[in-house]
Amino acid sequence: MAAPKKIGLQTVYFQTPPVIIAAASIVGPMEGEGPLSKYFDKILSDTYYGEKTWEKAEQRLMQDAMKKALQKANLQEKDIDFILAGDLLNQIVTSCYTARAMSIPFLGLYGACSTLYEGMAIGSMLIDGGFADRVMVAVSSHYSTAERQYRFPTELGVQRPMTAQWTVTGAGAALLAREGSGPVITHATIGRVIDMGEGDPQDMGAAMAPAAADTIKRHFLDTGRSPDHYDLIITGDLGAYGKILAEKLMNQNGYEVSERYTDCGILIFSGSQDVHAGGSGCACSAVVTCGYLLEQLKSKKYKRIIGIGTGALLSPCSIQQGETIPGIGHAVVFEAR
């Protein structure tokens, strides 16, 4: 017998769609100067956030985002069944170290910058599967911790190519629940890892675009829907050039998406902020989703949104050894209620 809640090859649907009862977003100072600033719960004035190191600052960011989400939902830690969290640092230490301060069972996730969407998909499965009543999904990234791990020390003089993206400093947390009021998650399409042979870590949009396009195509095939079913199609952090490529690939697959398609990495910064191709990092799609998108659903400006969290699954070691960059995209369908 086929799995009862799976449709097609990669899509699952939720019989009782989990409700996003609360979401919180905290961003760094630069993101706070961007066009979405009014949607964030908190904007830091300093990237150290009062801590000694950026790593500690990132932990505090994630912890504060989780606490803010709990506070908004008027819930305690004991009311939450699981935390699903992830980040960009080696061994996802931000999530692990943050979770040690919470008395909530913890599942660590790694999907690079797609982690929020991976977490929302799995969290929804846990709830609709009857394994949990409430699940917290949280992710974080920090420009300075990511930069020193993946690229160069922050004070090193490096010229960035036009395709380079800027890792968003911030954290997003979403509380999914079986019951409550708020936007719901109706479907999730789990992506395949796609490697089209792009190997430039300064051009991750090009590495991730095929994965995003593949997942979207799969979603439409599995559900029988077409792009005009959605008010908004939004990818995680492809940036300006990755977005062009993803759009091109979707067109090749026969899906015309142009006016309803955008990218979180493009929305979060304005053109004058010298971030080249746009934002990236776990927090990029997370703060845009938890801050901006959910707000649009609540106000019914958009009724149906499909978000595709995108991740570049590379490590500095794999790049130095000449490997190409595998990409992934996970799609989650949000509906206003």
Binding site: T47, S144, P153, T154, E155, L156, Q159, P161, D200
Partner: protein, 118 residues
Amino acid sequence: MEFLWAFIIGGALCVIGQLMMDLTGYKFTGAHVLVTFVCAGAVISALGLYQPLVNLAGAGATVPLSGFGHLLAQGAINGVNQKGLLGAFSGGVSSAAVGITAAVVFGYLAALIFKPRG
């Protein structure tokens, strides 16, 4: 006049470095550029072609990192002249000792004093 040449030659050497990065789509990083400049400077110096550039442009030829390679190569050659084979081992580094030590010491002290700003 030497000041003008210092500006022009120094600037031109930097343009070569810039082209290395831009024309390889930034696969050539700053570290690659620095290594290439040191090695190229040393080889050109050994062929006797770097000293004329230094005579013409002064700091315009010694300040870019190819000048560091020139210093290392001339040090090794002078070392061989003075001490024979052992000079090949001692000459290079001793001629560049001021630069190396200054960078290590100042770098160490800066790490103790300053905090990166991100």
